[in-house]
């Protein structure tokens, strides 16, 4: 490339025009100027190109001689660039005035000066193609250019923020065009109570709801008789519209009882919807479940009642070689059980696929915190979605297949399965490509009922002394923290536990 460019250079100079572009003189680099023809002189480095007898070349020879003499006198190389600057078009300027610096590699362009501007060459080629378009002084020049780099490489914070706002607006528009039309409000019903794992579980549900792009009303039903500050502090951080109500009983310790109690708490939540005539889609978000954001998009297609697929993740609290029961069950059937709608080959809803607890009969946990496999009930509430109008006292266009909810809800003791709300299952709509898409998972992990945790998960006093907690699965670690209060030991200290009763 370079030798050929040199040759081009000389051949075009030989054609006898004097205008052109200076590649670089004296080591400083400039990029080709913009705007029109350059009136200045000073072309190739080597003078033998000016052997032609023309006034311009004679003039340049004179300048060259003067510069040589001056250099001899001064003692360093006096650049002809000065003349270039003096005589050049005022619009051709050094880009260094903009505060940009150019790569030093351009200085090596002394070896291969760039081409004369295009306009000159188009004149020359005009002789070949008679009547061709004459270039009107193109700004774009062929040849080596500088690589422009700005001095401050980091992005401006305001611009980054603007970019994110653009992205957000674009995504909002995408949702408006390709997403759900006329999205309905999501009414989430969550039973909860204060215990060690409450923060863990409820934070997950809270964040899932905060990401939902539709309007959300969150009904939190809290067991234990009164709403606690713990729960209130947690859910207030969400910024969502929350209805926090107490439930008049305590959460029992036995799993079967607990499932029934949670059912009653949910019905209590439904009663609130009925009383306040909230409109939207009712979803049962248990606080220990895991939901994906696609869930909320999928259920928007439900008209009256829908069933969705729930992945059941059964597991026990144990780990290691002592969990033979779980491993045996897994060996028999390693697939994950799913509760959800079942369709026949033509896509019509035919029934519900439920979880079978039989394989787990001997190994399931009975008490919270037990060593055993925690299994769900036969039918989990979280797999169903209802239109809130079904619950109203006197909605006009309700289908007849709904049970008279008044009587069902008065008698809340007997509501242990969501199906008791329906007369028959025929009008349940399958959601999520007929249940093929699993967008929520059921998983129950709880600590022992007597496990303690610092209130609001804030440790007030500094952690100095490590007290071994009884009956934790972790092995005891001997620590020398009783002696000094080094920051390292403080960080590594276990959570301070009060002694178990």
């Amino acid at each position: 490339m370079k030798p050929s460019a040199l040759k081009q250079q000389y051949s075009s100079v030989r054609r006898g025009f004097g205008g052109g572009l200076r590649g670089g003189g004296g080591g400083d680099a400039i990029s080709p100027p913009h705007g029109g023809r350059v009136a200045a002189a000073a072309m190739a480095e080597s003078p033998f190109a000016f052997v032609r007898s023309s006034p311009a070349s004679a003039f340049f020879l004179l300048i060259h001689g003067v510069c040589c003499l001056v250099s001899l006198v001064v003692g360093f190389r006096f650049s002809r660039l000065i003349f270039f600057l003096l005589f050049s078009n005022p619009y051709s300027h050094l880009h260094s005035s903009d505060g940009l610096r150019l790569r030093s590699s351009v200085a090596s362009s002394l070896d291969s000066p760039p081409m004369p501007p295009l306009s000159e060459l188009s004149d020359f080629s005009g002789t070949v193609s008679n009547g061709a378009v004459k270039g009107v002084g193109s700004r774009v020049v062929v040849g080596r250019h500088g690589i422009r780099i700005r001095p401050w490489p980091h992005p401006n914070q305001e611009e980054v923020m603007r970019a994110h706002l653009i992205l957000r607006r674009v995504q909002q528009e995408q949702r408006a065009q390709y997403g759900v039309k006329n999205p309905r409000r999501i009414i989430a019903v969550t039973p909860t109570y204060v215990r060690t794992f409450q923060t863990l579980h409820l934070t997950g549900v809270m964040h899932s709801l905060m990401l939902v792009p539709y309007d959300v009303t969150w009904i939190v039903v809290e067991a234990g008789g009164a709403t606690t500050d713990e729960t209130a502090a947690l859910i207030d951080r969400s910024g969502l519209e929350v209805i926090h109500v107490p439930f008049h009983a305590d959460m029992p310790v036995e799993w079967a009882e607990r499932h029934r109690m949670e059912g009653r708490m949910r019905v209590h939540g439904l009663r609130i919807i009925r009383e306040r005539k909230l409109d939207g889609l009712v979803v049962f978000l248990d606080d220990s479940n895991m939901h994906s954001t696609e869930l909320f998009d999928e259920i928007q297609s439900v008209k009256w009642a829908g069933a969705l697929s729930v992945g059941i993740l059964t597991h026990s609290g144990c780990s290691g070689s002592s969990c033979t029961d779980e491993q045996e069950i897994r060996k028999m059937d390693p697939s994950m059980p799913i509760q959800g709608p079942a369709c026949n080959s033509s896509g019509a809803f035919v029934g519900l696929h439920t979880f079978s607890a039989l394989p787990y009969a001997g190994a399931s946990a009975t008490y919270v915190g037990d060593h055993g496999i925690i299994v769900p009930m036969n039918l989990e509430w979280s797999g169903f979605v209802l239109n809130a109008r079904l619950l109203w006292k006197d909605a006009e266009d309700r289908p007849d297949s709904i049970n008279d909810l008044d009587s069902v809800m008065e008698n809340e003791e007997e509501v242990d399965s969501p199906l008791s709300l329906f007369k028959d299952m025929s009008f349940i709509e399958p959601v999520g490509n007929c249940g093929k898409k699993v967008s929520l998972w059921w998983l129950r992990t709880e600590a022992r009922t007597d496990s303690q945790f610092p209130p609001r998960w804030t440790v007030d006093s500094p952690l100095e002394i490590t007290v071994p907690a009884k009956r934790t699965p972790w092995p005891e670690v001997k620590r020398h923290s009783k002696s000094g209060r080094t920051p390292r030991s403080r960080r590594n200290s276990h959570k301070r536990k009060r002694e178990a009763p």
């Binding site: 490339m1 050929s4 590699s105 995408q174």
Partner: protein
């Protein structure tokens, strides 16, 4: 008289209000109509507006060349081959040359490929010259106009200058025999030797089926702000940078390689098309030539093209208002690219996306086989139809000669 004046005023005002209403309704819809400087011509039907006669050349000019290397059907210069096939079976084709408005010479001049797949243009001038000698001796229509009603498809880097290096291409200039013909080419740069006035600029060929196969659901949120995959430095030909892309690509890399908003790299991911559909802006900088297939890909995938090529002429510029669809950044403004892109108002971004979503826009950039209404083949024919009727300078007086058959480098005059 007064009543008449009032009635006409009222009518004018009512019409104005209705028109404004019509425009407003359009804007709430998903797409927007595209009309360029020639008017709303993107969906014109060329059938019935022109007649094209296709010369029957010996197969050494087309089929045999293709047989030697079938890569010519998939590279970005494949438009010349597909245009030939389209015209052979199109209703605009006429077998009677007396009624033809335009004459097409099927020469595959961009099919002599290196082992790497890049076309060598060294024999192309001789090939075209030989073809023109053939048609001028066998049919009288070339001599009648000296090619002014003939068109040629020359999709190479610098079109009819037939060289891949810009300096040499400029030096050669357009092939002298094609001085009066209409050139259908991908290269377009204002005030450049290799762009003849009246040329039709077409997009480079991009395989339509391959792009269709990589479509993702349109509700996938666009989360990449700026996307680019390709070379920044052409290490083989220009290791220091500065020649390749006039330093613009190197400048993009040096300034924005650490910027989290810019997803740019030289990788060749398999999810290239999918990633483009997740991006808002796609850079289309110049390379060794100003045009780039990224423009086609950006339009098809709904990513706003950011064109960094000074004085470029984009495909079908009279039918498509590129100013409203893409973002043009001068090469000297590349260091401020992030400022430029983030300061675009959100409504303007949404409008550009609406224009890109117009299916006729995407169709106009593609070369599907068989041809479909509104595709690039039809746009070329529309462009040819807009140049009709031929003006008086087209037809020469008997015996008048304009072209110089011996002009050009000596090497071009050798027979092929």
């Amino acid at each position: 008289m007064g009543h008449g004046m009032w009635a006409s005023c009222f009518l004018v005002i009512a019409l104005a209000i209705l028109n404004i209403g019509a425009v407003a309704i359009d804007q709430t819809q998903q797409t927007e109509r595209i009309s360029g400087s020639a008017g709303d011509v993107l969906e014109d039907d060329p059938i019935g507006r022109l007649k094209v006669f296709v010369y029957e050349l010996p197969s050494k000019y087309n089929k045999k060349i293709l047989q030697k290397d079938s890569r010519c059907l998939t590279h970005m210069f494949a438009a010349e081959i597909f245009m030939h096939r389209f015209l052979l079976s199109s209703p605009v084709r006429t077998l009677n040359p007396e009624e033809a408005d335009w004459f097409y010479t099927p020469v595959y001049s961009t099919c002599d490929l290196t082992p790497n797949g890049l076309p060598l243009p060294f024999k192309s001038p001789r090939m075209i010259r030989s073809a023109i000698q053939l048609i001028s001796s066998r049919w009288p229509y070339w001599n009648r106009t000296e090619g002014a009603d003939h068109f040629f498809v020359v999709p190479h880097d610098f079109a009819a200058c037939f060289h891949y290096q810009e300096e040499k291409a400029i030096e050669r200039g357009i092939l002298p025999l094609l001085q009066r013909a209409t050139l259908v080419q991908t290269f377009g740069q204002r005030n450049h030797v290799c762009l003849k006035e009246g040329s039709i600029i077409i997009p480079p060929y991009a395989p339509p089926q391959k792009m269709q196969a990589h479509l993702i659901p349109p509700d996938t949120p666009r989360s990449i702000f700026v996307y680019f995959r390709g070379l920044f430095y052409d290490v083989g030909n220009d290791p220091e940078g500065g020649y390749y892309a006039r330093g613009a690509r190197a400048s993009v890399w040096e300034n924005f390689k650490d910027n989290p908003l810019f997803d740019i790299s030289t990788e060749h991911p398999t999810t290239y098309y999918e990633d483009m559909q997740r991006a808002v802006f796609c850079l289309c900088p110049l390379g060794w030539a100003p045009w780039s297939p990224r423009l086609v890909e950006g339009v098809v995938f709904g990513c706003i093209p950011v064109i960094i090529a000074d004085d470029i002429v984009l495909p079908f510029a009279d039918a498509i208002p590129w100013d409203e669809i893409g973002v043009f950044v001068a090469e000297e403004d590349v260091p401020r690219l992030d400022t430029i892109l983030t300061s675009i108002p959100q409504e303007v971004v949404l409008r550009k996306q609406r224009l890109l979503a117009n299916p006729s826009m995407k169709q106009a950039m593609l070369f599907p086989q068989p041809g479909q209404p509104g595709d690039a083949f039809h746009q070329i024919l529309n462009g040819l139809a807009r140049k009709l009727p031929h003006d008086s300078s087209t037809y020469l007086r008997p015996g008048e000669r304009v072209l110089d058959w011996n002009a050009g480098p000596v090497g071009d005059l050798k027979p092929w």
